[in-house]
Structure formats: structure tokens, C-alpha cells
């Protein structure tokens, strides 16, 4: 049974937000919200009650790396797992995300099984 929590999906492309939202629902996580960029995401995170962040990297205004950094330096938010789901495939970007505290990294295009697998790994590490 999926651990109940509210997910924030961050991506500047509405199609991708919709795909991730539908996949999370199929996996058992129907409680989701969306943001178009890091600025909107940070604002929602600071004013809401979220348990998980799924974020793209390449976004206007505030990209995924910047959002990750802001989350990790905020005492109220740093506990949040951040799963990067992105088209950025350079090795230095993957390493940067890991060193920045990202809980996982998925490259697009991806499958439902990959998302499910990564979420399960993260929940296991969190003791959920």
C-alpha cells in the first residue's frame, strides 16, 4: 500500500506535469499539486504541507538545481525528498544533483516502472 503524502510536481511543461500526475495516481499517490518553476514551487512548499517533491531541472525563473539548494538550506523543508525527473543527461548534472542532496534522478523519457522503482527505493531509505 502506498504511503499517503502530498506530492509537488514541478515542471514548466504542462504535458509532463500531467503525465507525472497520472502516473503517481496509478502508483497510489493521488494527492498531488503542481508548479511551473522553482519560484512557484518554493512558495507552495513554504506555505503548504508537502511530503515529496518531483522536479524537472531545466525551468525558467528558478531551475531545479536552485530549487534543490533552497529546499536543503531551509530548516523547515530540508527533510523533503526531491526526485529529479529531467532531460538533462550530462554526467556532471547527475553528480551535481546527487551532491546537492537529491533523493533520486530519472532521465526522460522514462517508464512507469522506473518511477515506481525509484519511489520505492526512496521510501525504503526513509524508513516508510
Amino acid at each position: 500500500m502506498a504511503t499517503p503524502m502530498k506530492f509537488l510536481i514541478v515542471d514548466d511543461f504542462s504535458t509532463m506535469r500531467r503525465i507525472v500526475r497520472n502516473l503517481l495516481k496509478e502508483i497510489g499517490h493521488a494527492d498531488t499539486d503542481e508548479a511551473e518553476d522553482g519560484v512557484e514551487a518554493l512558495n507552495k512548499l513554504r506555505n503548504g504541507n508537502y511530503g515529496f517533491v518531483v522536479s524537472d531541472i531545466n525551468m525558467p525563473n528558478m531551475n531545479g538545481f536552485q530549487l534543490l539548494a533552497e529546499i536543503k538550506k531551509d530548516d523547515a523543508l530540508k527533510h523533503l525528498p526531491v526526485l529529479m525527473v529531467t532531460a538533462e543527461a550530462r554526467k556532471e548534472d547527475i553528480v551535481q544533483a546527487a551532491q546537492g542532496g537529491a533523493a533520486g534522478y530519472i532521465v526522460k523519457p522514462f517508464t512507469k516502472a522506473t518511477l515506481e522503482d525509484k519511489l520505492a527505493n526512496i521510501f525504503k531509505k526513509m524508513g516508510l
Binding site: T15, N58, A87, A89, I94, V107, K108, P109, F110, T114
Partner: protein, 207 residues
């Protein structure tokens, strides 16, 4: 501001003077060769290229949305069919002797459930395939940005080549730090090509 001495011993003022002389020679060469008019024609076509690319991005987005709307509807319908199939299976099982007298009824209702679930999985794959909009959209965005930058720089070059008028200000092209989707990974060792590569890289670093 004090002139700065370069590693070759030249002052920065001298360097700028040399660069200015080279630029003027380039402008004169372009005019004499007749390329200024061709450049002007190319510059005028760039906004058209940008708007065509933006049109493609918009249409592909609308197409992806249409497909996702139909997928949502179809998934709801498949879930309804699967549920009815399960109810039918249960009902047939509960009628004394029916399952034995007509085992095919049980099989058919089971088939309905199986095929409904298979169709639902296909619909999930169709939904995932709409990620083309995101991936192509990012590439189109970068090309539109690049076209805009080239247009600015060519305009500046043309203005400086003009017999009269205020010289334009060249703007340096700042490379985008994020690359977006890898369009051609052939020959590259700095990128991953699939999720397994990502997982292997992270595992090798202890993450």
C-alpha cells in the same frame, strides 16, 4: 579606468584599437563581396523562422493534450469494464451449478477483466509517449533562443556596416549552462544514454 597590461605586453587600449581595425576591415570586406545584402535577407527571415518553430511547439502541445484527454476518458471506461467483469465472475461463481454447466461463462468474464487490464496498460504507454512534447519543446525553445541571439548579432553587424547610422552594440552569446535533451549522443562520453547509466554512475560514486 587604467589600461590593463595583457600577457603579451600590450595594453588593453592597444588591443581594442586592433580589434576595432579588424572589425572595420571585416565590415568593408562584407560590403565589397556583396554579403551585406544577403545577411540582411537572412536576418529578415529569422523572426519568421522563430514564429514557425513556436507554431510547431504550440501544435505539438495541443496534440499531446488532446491525446491525454482521450487517454483519461478511455482509462475510466476500461476501469469500468474491468470492474463489471469481476462482478460477473463473482456472480457466475455464486449461482449454484452454473459455472460447472457453462464453464465458458466464467472464462469469458475472466477474459474481459484480463483484456481490460491489458488495454489499460497500453493506455499508460500512450500517455507516457506524450513526453515527446516536453523533449521536442525544450529543443525548439533553445533553437528559438539561438535564432534570436543570431538575429541580434547580425543586426548589430549590419548596422555597423551601414554607411551612416549609429553603430550597434554587439552582445556576446552566453552559452546556456543547461543543455536540455541530448539530441545526438554519438561520440560523447560526458552524457548518459539511459536510466541504467544514471544508476550505475550514482552507484559508482556511492550514492
Amino acid at each position: 579606468m587604467e589600461p590593463v597590461e595583457t600577457p603579451t605586453g600590450q595594453s588593453s587600449d592597444q588591443m581594442f584599437q586592433q580589434l576595432g581595425a579588424i572589425t572595420r576591415q571585416l565590415h568593408e570586406a562584407l560590403k565589397e563581396l556583396g554579403y551585406a545584402d544577403q545577411l540582411k535577407g537572412s536576418v529578415e527571415q529569422l523572426p519568421d523562422a522563430q514564429s514557425r518553430l513556436s507554431y510547431i511547439a504550440r501544435l505539438t502541445g495541443e496534440a499531446a493534450d488532446k491525446v491525454l484527454n482521450h487517454v483519461d476518458g478511455a482509462k475510466t471506461e476500461q476501469a469500468f469494464i474491468a470492474e463489471r467483469g469481476r462482478l460477473l465472475e463473482g456472480t457466475i461463481s455464486r449461482v449454484p451449478g452454473l459455472a460447472k454447466a457453462m464453464p465458458e461463462l466464467l472464462q469469458w468474464s475472466h477474459d474481459v477483466v484480463t483484456h481490460a487490464e491489458q488495454t489499460d496498460n497500453r493506455l499508460t504507454e500512450i500517455m507516457l509517449a506524450q513526453d515527446f512534447h516536453d523533449l521536442t519543446g525544450q529543443v525548439i525553445q533553445r533553437v528559438v533562443q539561438l535564432a534570436g541571439t543570431i538575429e541580434e548579432q547580425l543586426l548589430a553587424l549590419l548596422l555597423q556596416s551601414a554607411p551612416s547610422g549609429t553603430p550597434g552594440q554587439d552582445k556576446a552569446y552566453v552559452a546556456h549552462a543547461l543543455e536540455g535533451p541530448v539530441v545526438n549522443a554519438e561520440g560523447r562520453t560526458d552524457v548518459v544514454t539511459d536510466q541504467k547509466d544514471v544508476d550505475d554512475l550514482l552507484a559508482s560514486l556511492g550514492f
